[in-house]
């Protein structure tokens, strides 16, 4: 796989990485052969700073986790010299071992070669050499409250608790956020030396502050009961954050510290449960979600078997259904890394399903076309510009 110059959709799957690239009109797409066929790839990401460097977070059967790197747009790959790995446990310490790297984020635009990674068990890692070697971000990973803030490695989501949605403020590389499933949103203003929870206003399975704190337990700001599925910061105004949470859709405008549930404005029969949220890079008020069924035993498929995205163009005050071109009956599940937008005008919006279908819209969601099908289970979709 060697990516050509221009737009690419990098599709990470349970069985390897695929790439789709379009013609000039984005109407015909060409699917590459897979790389790392048979490897579990949780996230493959192109570095926007050079448009050529790719990192892929891999786990392979029963073998230990690693990170693969390419500096020539996917033509050749090498393995990280030192992938994320915890220190050997000291006396009395609980041993931790990385199960897999789940999330990759290129560092600040001014810091070439810097990357961040989130793993299961939940931990944050940094690299200063393009992903070749990884260091523990000890301000979080070794904090005395680590075990209070995070979820037990044996519990949590089916594939283990994860650290995800690593966000670097474009105005200040020392200002970052990430999400813990479960555990909530954390923020640092000192480049990771210290972290504070940012969970006010969020409902949990135990209590909903918007309902006057109703729930079986008292609301507490720290703990694995929070479950942000996906957090995005708006590039136009880095004081605006959107979040698709296990319990609803939220917005936060800093310096405020209390999330507002904008998912309450979704149709009641659809609800506001889901995994991803994608933002319009040129419109602060526009974002997309992919609602999933959160009733009964939480099937987390398209509600009623009627697949659709919902878009807001007013910051969450109202939502519009977008399903033109999507199948009339479909029980899609779209995971948290599986929705992405390109930077083109009009904006392209893309999503991948656990059933191995990749869908795209080049008119901001008004109409949809299936770009690929019969792929392995899709874990991540990243729209990127190859240099």
């Amino acid at each position: 796989m060697e990516l050509s110059r221009g737009l690419a959709l990098i599709v990470s799957t349970r069985k390897g990485v695929f790439c789709l690239q379009p013609d000039a009109l984005r109407s015909r797409w060409t699917l590459s052969d897979p790389v790392f066929l048979g490897h579990v790839i949780n996230h493959a990401v192109l570095d926007p700073r050079d448009g050529r460097t790719l990192l892929a977070a891999a786990r392979t059967g029963h073998l230990g986790p690693t990170v693969f790197r390419s500096t020539d747009a996917g033509r050749t790959w090498s393995e990280a010299r030192r992938p994320p790995a915890f220190d050997k446990a000291g006396p009395g310490e609980k041993p931790r071992a990385v199960s897999h790297t789940f999330w990759l984020t290129p560092g600040h635009a001014s810091e070439n070669g810097s990357w961040f990674a989130g793993t299961s068990p939940q931990a944050l890692w940094s690299s200063a050499d393009g992903g070749d070697s990884w260091e523990s971000v000890r301000g979080f990973n070794d904090h005395p409250d680590y075990w209070l803030r995070t979820e037990d490695p044996q519990g949590g989501t089916p594939d283990g608790p994860v650290l995800h949605s690593i966000i670097i403020d474009p105005r200040d590389p020392a200002h970052m956020y990430f999400g813990l499933s479960g555990g909530g949103v954390y923020e640092t203003r000192d480049r990771g030396a210290s972290w504070a929870p940012l969970n006010r206003g969020l409902a949990t399975m135990l209590a909903d502050p918007a309902a006057g704190g109703a729930g079986p337990l008292e609301w507490q700001e720290v703990g694995p009961h929070f479950d942000p599925h996906c957090v995005e910061l708006h590039p136009l105004n880095p004081d605006r954050l959107y979040q698709q949470n296990h319990c609803g859709i939220y917005r936060l405008d800093r310096p405020g510290d209390t999330w507002v549930r904008i998912g309450n404005n979704m149709p009641a029969d659809v609800g506001d449960i889901g995994f991803p949220v994608a933002l319009h890079p040129r419109d602060l008020q526009t974002c997309w979600v992919f609602p999933m069924d959160g009733t009964d035993v939480w099937p987390r498929t398209s509600p009623g078997g009627r697949a659709a995205l919902y878009v807001t163009r007013d910051g969450g005050a109202s939502w519009t259904r977008q399903d033109r071109g999507l199948p009339q009956r479909a029980w899609y599940t779209v995971k948290r890394q599986c929705m992405s937008v390109d930077g083109r005008d009009p904006l392209g919006v893309y999503f991948g399903t656990t059933s191995g279908e990749l869908w795209g819209s080049v008119d901001e969601g008004d109409s949809w076309a299936c770009l690929a099908q019969h792929l392995p289970e899709i874990y991540a979709v990243e729209a990127a510009e190859v240099a």
Binding site: T60, H62, L63, G64, R81, A85, A97
Partner: protein
């Protein structure tokens, strides 16, 4: 040492390689010196054998990285395949 198929990408597709060490642990470090990264795919950062990766020394399965080795001992590494 006999290398399982999923790790042959590290050894230039050679399924038999030589390494030195007076314990299994030392042998795996020497293997990693020759083929960087291969040890971490089998042994985690707490020096535990990863589940479903098994080691045979002189024909007997061992769970002990401190297992002693003698000249010309054969070490077989097997990796289970499971799941769809």
């Amino acid at each position: 040492m006999l290398i399982p198929q999923p790790l042959l990408s590290y050894t230039d597709q050679r399924d038999r390689v030589d390494a030195v060490g007076d314990t299994l642990d030392a042998l795996l470090f020497d293997l990693d010196r020759q083929f960087p990264g291969i040890r971490f795919r089998m042994i985690d950062e707490q020096d535990r054998m990863r589940p479903h990766v098994v080691f045979f020394v002189r024909g007997t399965r061992t769970h002990d990285l401190d297992e002693s080795l003698a000249d010309c001992d054969e070490v077989v590494i097997l990796q289970a395949l499971s799941g769809g």
